[in-house]
């Protein structure tokens, strides 16, 4: 018998079939690069789980991350995420404000003590006790420490929460820090990007709810499945890079032919994100496809890496060390298919349950 409080029961009451949930899970499993049979396990896990209480804190940010999640393209499938989580507190989206909003946050914390997930967008001001960003008379620093104390896990959404982002750029007047510099005793996931891909946020939360654990993370605490490959690894302009064919200005013949944007400052070789495959606005395009190099927005301190239009090989970091980059035109043909084959082999050689 289905638990009436489970997500499965909730979806059934809303007329969402298990087949629709399976379809959603197929997408999530693909996003998380889970083995082939995992869509069924994911659907099962989601159906049995209770909705995850989420407290969303917005600090020094531009609301782009919330926009990205709420405007995710696919109203039917993607909006299922809002059936999976119970968004108990979100300053930007909720109707309450001021003292009433604070009371809502404290009530949600008390009701789900030790079980709620804190999602943070925005960096945290720490200079002069954090006075440069406050809310209802409390500094972001205070609110974060207080809210995270009884959390199950913390998810830093966007490059500001994950790495400090734009507020952290030199000269960093507010002493902006990422969440990881402040919360050191909780499981923490970074989903960087400016903004992050909505699918990355939705898939990570769904994984957490369904399997009750944190997905495999890289050294920067990013989910490996979504941030495991560089933009360059997956870029459709890569064959031009491999042949040494580069656009040298935004309107030269090379640019018109769709050649590689490396010399125009593309940071794809040192940027790990899924834009090249998932793309934006429902898979329509991504910056490189629109003729502009990757800015590297999902990497730490992307704002201070020496200029968006300078080639990687001429960039210097703030400490003067040359940024590591692939050598221009130095990769043998066939590297793409080899990489793709390796990745596919990882994904594919798994059992499906017919």
């Amino acid at each position: 018998m289905m638990d009436p409080d489970s997500i499965g029961a909730l979806l059934a009451r809303r007329g969402v079939s298990r087949r629709a949930l399976l379809k959603y899970s197929t997408r999530l499993a693909a996003l998380m690069a889970l083995p082939a049979g995992s869509a069924e396990a994911l659907a099962d896990g989601l159906a049995r789980a209770k909705r995850q209480s989420v407290i969303w804190l917005s600090f020094q940010e531009c609301t782009g991350c919330t926009e990205s999640l709420t405007r995710s393209f696919n109203p039917t499938i993607e909006n299922l995420i809002f059936n999976i989580i119970s968004l108990d507190y979100h300053e930007t989206l909720q109707a309450a404000s001021g003292t009433a909003a604070e009371a809502a946050r404290l009530a949600a914390m008390a009701a789900n003590k030790g079980k709620y997930v804190v999602v943070v967008d925005g960096s945290v001001s720490t200079r002069d006790g954090g006075v440069y960003s406050t809310n209802a008379g409390h500094t972001n620093l205070e609110i974060l420490r207080q809210t995270a104390a009884d959390a199950l896990a913390v998810i830093s959404v966007g490059s500001c929460a994950a790495f400090g982002g734009i507020a952290h750029a030199r000269p960093n007047p507010t002493g902006a820090e990422p969440v990881s510099a402040i919360i050191t005793d909780k499981p923490l996931i970074n989903i960087p990007g400016c903004p992050p891909l909505p699918e990355a946020m939705a898939a990570t939360i769904a994984y957490l709810v369904s399997f009750g654990k944190i997905p495999e993370l890289d050294h920067l605490r990013r989910p490996r499945s979504l941030f495991g490959d560089s933009i360059h690894d997956r870029c459709y302009r890569r064959p031009f890079y491999d042949r040494g064919l580069f656009a040298r200005s935004f309107d030269d013949e090379g640019a018109r032919q769709g050649w590689c944007l490396y010399e125009l400052g593309c940071k794809g070789p040192v940027t790990y994100n899924a834009c090249a495959t998932l793309k934006w606005n429902g898979g329509v395009s991504f910056p490189i496809q629109s003729g502009h190099g990757c800015l590297g927005c999902s990497e730490p301190d992307f704002w201070d890496q020496g200029g968006f239009y300078r080639p990687l090989s001429s960039n210097t970091t703030s400490t003067g060390t040359v940024v590591a980059a692939a050598a221009v035109g130095g990769v043998a043909l066939g590297a793409v298919s080899a990489l793709v084959a390796r990745r596919r082999a990882r994904l594919a050689r798994q059992e499906t349950t017919p």
Binding site: R18, A30, T277, P354
Partner: protein
């Protein structure tokens, strides 16, 4: 965009052939996520042409529509899910006897059974 997807499509076909041989020998299926590969719409169209169409085609409507067909190679299925706005949400090659999404799901069957029974009960209670 001047980008020839042929080498990738060829390597993909080799992989599908290997997986299909596994299915034939051991019954073990597999899935390949096409949207995760840098082959683009042109590559997917080229692959679809090479695989062709087989004996089964299905359409479903669950959280958006889906198109599913068995390719010209038995056991190799093309599964394409769309969201409500008709944008492609997933596109996968499934190497299996039948894609799971086509099966009636036990939970939906249970709900359908009670719905049908309730409907019948209501019908028999109606005054003649």
């Amino acid at each position: 965009m001047a980008h020839d997807p042929t080498p990738l499509v060829e390597s993909l076909l080799h992989e599908i052939a290997g997986l299909l041989a596994d299915l034939a020998a051991t019954g073990q299926g597999a899935r390949i996520d096409l949207l995760g590969l840098p082959i683009g719409p042109a590559g997917r169209a080229a692959l679809a042409e090479r695989l062709g169409r087989g004996e089964v085609e299905a359409a479903l409507d669950a959280g958006g529509t889906s198109e599913i067909w068995e390719t010209g190679f038995a056991g190799v299925w093309w599964v394409r899910h769309f969201g409500a706005d008709d944008r492609l949400a997933t596109e996968q090659i499934e190497i299996t006897t039948v894609p799971t999404i086509l099966l009636s799901q036990p939970e939906d069957i249970a709900i359908a059974a009670s719905r049908l029974a309730a409907g019948l009960a209501q019908h028999t209670e109606l005054p003649q």
